[in-house]
Symmetry: C2
Subunit: 232 residues, 2 copies
C-alpha cells in the first residue's frame, strides 16, 4: 500500500488509496488503520492519508540514506561554502539514481533535484559517475533502453555514452554540461568505501556560462575521497 | 519487524532480528525475504539486514520529514551562514521530539543531535518550544513523569518547568542554557503553519560562554516565521 504514494501523489483519501493500491475499500480500510496505528501513515484534518513520521524515523536508519548523508555533510558543506552553488549526493538504485542530499544557495542555478527523488543515470554528473562504475550488466541494460533526452545536449547515442563512461573512469570525474538543464554544468566524482566499491557520487552543479570544469574537478574529487574515508 | 531496528542496532543477522522482533526464525525468514523483495530491507555482503533505500525513498514523502525540511532549508542555511554554529529543526512526536534537520559547522559546539533521532521535550530549546505549544494533556503527561537530568542545570522540577513554558509562550522563544550539554546554549522559536498551529521548532545552538540569547532570538524567530510562511 505504501507504493501508492509518490512525489506527485503524497496525500490520498481512502478510496484513492484503495484504487491506486488495487485493493478493495474494506481491505484498504483495515490496512490503513494498522499502518496509522504503527505510525507508517498519518491522517490529516482533511481526512487524507500521508506518510507518517514514524516511517521516516525508521527509514533514517538506512545506511545508504541518512547515515551516508551524515558522514558526507561536512564535506558537502565545505563544497557549498567555497562555491555557493548546488552540491549533490546520490546513490544508484537499480537502473536509476536517488538523491540523498542537496545543498543549494539562493542564487544557485536551478536544478531538477529533489532529496529522496529518482533520476536517470545517463544525463547528470552523479549519474554518469554511478553508471561508469556500475556492474557491466547494469551498464548494458541502461545502454540497451531508449535514452531520454532533456534537451538537445543530452547524450542519447549508446556508442557515444560508452565513450563518455570510459572517460569518466579514466579521468576520475564526470562533466555533464547542459545535458539536463541548459544553463547548468555538473562536475561529479565517485565516493569509494573501504572495500573499494563506488557507493555514491558527489557533484557540484554550477552556472554553465563561464564554468571551468577542470578547475572544479579537484575540489569535487577531494570531497568524494573525504566522504569515502569518513565512511571507513 | 521494522521496529527491531534502532540507532544502536541498525544491522542484524536473521536470528538477532527474530529475537528482537519476538518471532520464530521461520517467520522472520519469510518476512525478511518479503521486505528485501520490496526494498524495505537490504542484505549486506556480511549477511546482516539493514533498512533499505526504498523505504527511505517512500519515507521521504512524509510531510513532517523531508517535505518540511525542504521548505525550511533556505532559512536554516541563512542561520548557519551568519553564525557557523548548530542549526536544528525538530517536530513533536507524542511525548518526545524528532530532529528533522541539523546543519553544523566544523567548529560548532558539540550537541547530542542525530537527524531522525528522538529526544525528550523538557531540556532542549526546540523541545521547550514544542512542549510550550503542545496540547494541555501532552504537557500534563510530560510534567507528571520523572524529568531526566543531563546535568545539574537541567530543569527537573515540574513547577519550575511550568514557569519556563509560560515564559516561552510570552516571549515567543525559548532559551536552554547548558541544560543538555554544559557548554551549549540553545535559542529556539516556533514554526507556525497557515492554520496557526505550531508544527515545528527551529533553534540555534551556540557556545554558551559569551552567548547573547536576547540578540540571537530575533534571528531565530525570523527564521521560524519564514519557514512557516514557506509552508503556506
Amino acid at each position: 500500500m505504501l507504493d501508492a504514494f509518490s512525489p506527485e501523489c503524497p496525500a490520498m483519501t481512502l478510496s484513492e488509496l484503495a484504487r491506486r493500491a488495487g485493493i478493495s475499500l474494506a481491505t484498504a480500510h483495515r490496512r490503513a488503520a494498522e499502518l496509522v496505528d504503527w505510525g507508517a501513515l498519518e491522517r490529516g484534518a482533511d481526512g487524507r492519508y500521508r506518510i507518517g513520521l514514524r516511517l521516516w524515523e525508521v527509514a533514517s536508519l538506512a545506511p545508504r540514506g541518512l547515515a551516508l548523508r551524515e558522514a558526507a555533510m561536512p564535506f558537502l558543506e565545505d563544497l557549498y561554502e567555497v562555491t555557493r552553488e548546488n552540491v549533490q549526493l546520490a546513490v544508484r538504485e537499480g537502473l536509476e539514481l536517488v538523491f540523498v542530499e542537496r545543498i543549494a544557495g539562493r542564487h544557485a542555478v536551478p536544478v531538477l533535484t529533489r532529496v529522496g527523488g529518482r533520476f536517470a543515470l545517463h544525463a547528470t554528473g552523479v549519474g554518469l559517475v554511478l553508471l561508469a562504475h556500475a556492474p557491466a550488466e547494469v551498464q548494458e541494460e541502461v545502454l540497451a533502453a531508449p535514452l531520454q533526452a532533456w534537451n538537445p545536449k543530452t547524450i542519447t547515442n549508446p556508442a557515444r555514452l560508452r565513450e563518455v563512461l570510459a572517460a569518466v573512469r579514466r579521468n576520475g570525474y564526470a562533466v555533464s554540461d547542459g545535458q539536463v538543464t541548459m544553463d547548468g554544468l555538473s562536475v561529479a566524482a565517485p565516493v569509494v568505501d573501504g572495500s573499494g566499491e563506488v557507493v555514491a557520487a558527489v557533484s557540484l552543479v554550477v552556472h554553465a556560462e563561464g564554468a571551468q570544469p577542470a578547475a572544479l574537478a579537484p575540489l569535487v574529487r577531494a570531497a568524494g575521497r573525504g566522504i569515502g574515508r569518513a565512511l571507513g
